[in-house]
Symmetry: C2
Subunit: 243 residues, 2 copies
């Protein structure tokens, strides 16, 4: 978008992005990040946004892993999803990520259709537009699908209590608690990022994906906790092809 906004060369937080200056971006905090998200994710139609995200997925590379972001998925997660569906489970993604952002590529990767993808949302507006109707994304938050928001979204959109849920941060804890209260047998699964070599290692002190209260409750209640370093022979699907 920078070509249409020459003023960004001198204006934060845009300047920092254009200069790949991660320190300044981090210092801009939630306010700066929010401004970047709204600028890049709003004031366009849902169709235009979908096209933009698909283009990004097909071109962007992870700065240190040097592969596309769609390659950085977990092989054990793909196998689990397939196993659940083979046993007549209906699989959903319930993520803090933006729902329309995920929909642009998640179906192809995880085999989960758009109506089974639940996420955070900004507001939208409908305009009949003289017979060429469009839905436009508005630069205002509608719903944050995190923490208590997850069981609330599950109740709003699905209307059933899960029998199985899996997550990797404190943002998933309330969804786990809701799942564990199912009158049927239920399964709660936490992924603990412990592999600093093949992936990343973080938990209680991390600013992103903090896993602290969730880990305590999982241990106290005997929920299953995956130790990535020890339990996963393979992390990324591309490791399989190298063998």
């Amino acid at each position: 978008m920078a070509a249409d906004h020459p003023e960004w060369a001198a204006q934060q937080p845009y300047k920092a992005v254009l200069e790949n200056d991660m320190e300044t971006i981090k210092k801009s905090g939630m306010k700066g990040i929010g401004q970047l998200l709204m600028t890049t994710h709003a004031e366009i139609t849902t169709e235009e946004f979908d096209t933009d995200v698909k283009k990004w997925v097909n071109t962007a590379k992870h700065p240190t892993k040097n592969v596309g972001y769609d390659k950085l998925v977990y092989q054990p997660m793909l196998e689990l999803l397939e196993y659940l569906r083979a046993n007549n489970f209906k699989t959903y993604i319930v993520s803090g990520g933006g729902v329309d952002f995920m929909r642009a590529f998640v179906t192809e990767i995880y085999g989960i259709p758009s109506e089974q993808i639940i996420g955070s949302r900004i507001k939208t507006a409908f305009d009949n537009n003289d017979g060429n109707p469009k839905i436009t994304r508005i630069a205002e938050l509608d719903f944050i699908d995190d923490k208590a928001g997850k069981p609330l979204a599950i109740q709003k959109i699905i209307g059933k209590k899960p029998v199985f849920s899996s997550g990797n941060s404190d943002g998933d804890l309330q969804m786990m608690q809701w799942t564990s209260s199912n009158k049927y047998k239920s399964f709660m699964l936490y992924v603990h990022h412990t592999d600093s070599l093949r992936e990343w290692s973080y938990d209680r002190d991390s600013h992103n994906g903090k896993l602290d209260k969730g880990l305590d409750e999982a241990i106290a209640k005997g929920w299953t906790v995956i130790n990535m370093a020890e339990d996963w022979k393979v992390i990324y699907p591309f490791e399989l092809k190298r063998k």
Copy 2:
């Protein structure tokens, strides 16, 4: 609920309900109706609400038709839903009605699972409640699934544009417009209530379910309009049993 609220005997709009005084209820307008809805539909858990609605469906009778409300469904609509599903359509209800209200009985009647029921919502709150988590309904509107709200909800929750939509009021018009803009072939179907003998007859001047702009646009664009009096041999399923 009146047994726990003796003060309602002297307090509107509750007094009017207890005395079955429809004129006073109508005069209380949207404010009064809203107050009644919030009082009866909020400050309880989603499970309690589900139990309450099921009890109501199993006991309440329509004042003039003298049958349960769950009997006042359309036989041609049931047949259409079955026909669509037999041809691999995924069928949804997208209604102005409350989503959790509908979920208590709609699945059994229409064969539509809870996750394919979209409706209006009040706000909710999650409480882990010392390990017995509950979701409580809050007396505040969250989303009205009517007019422009319908295509917006379809995009938010389903994330795909319909190829078929049907409705009976101006509240469905934007959903029809959105459907008609599908790049694939699409089908827009309006039900026109023209049968004052077997059902009801109303359209442009009705306070409930007004069909005015929608009828004009359907005629102008060649959408299918069902004339209930002329086109439907049978309206209610119970007519079939009488034959």
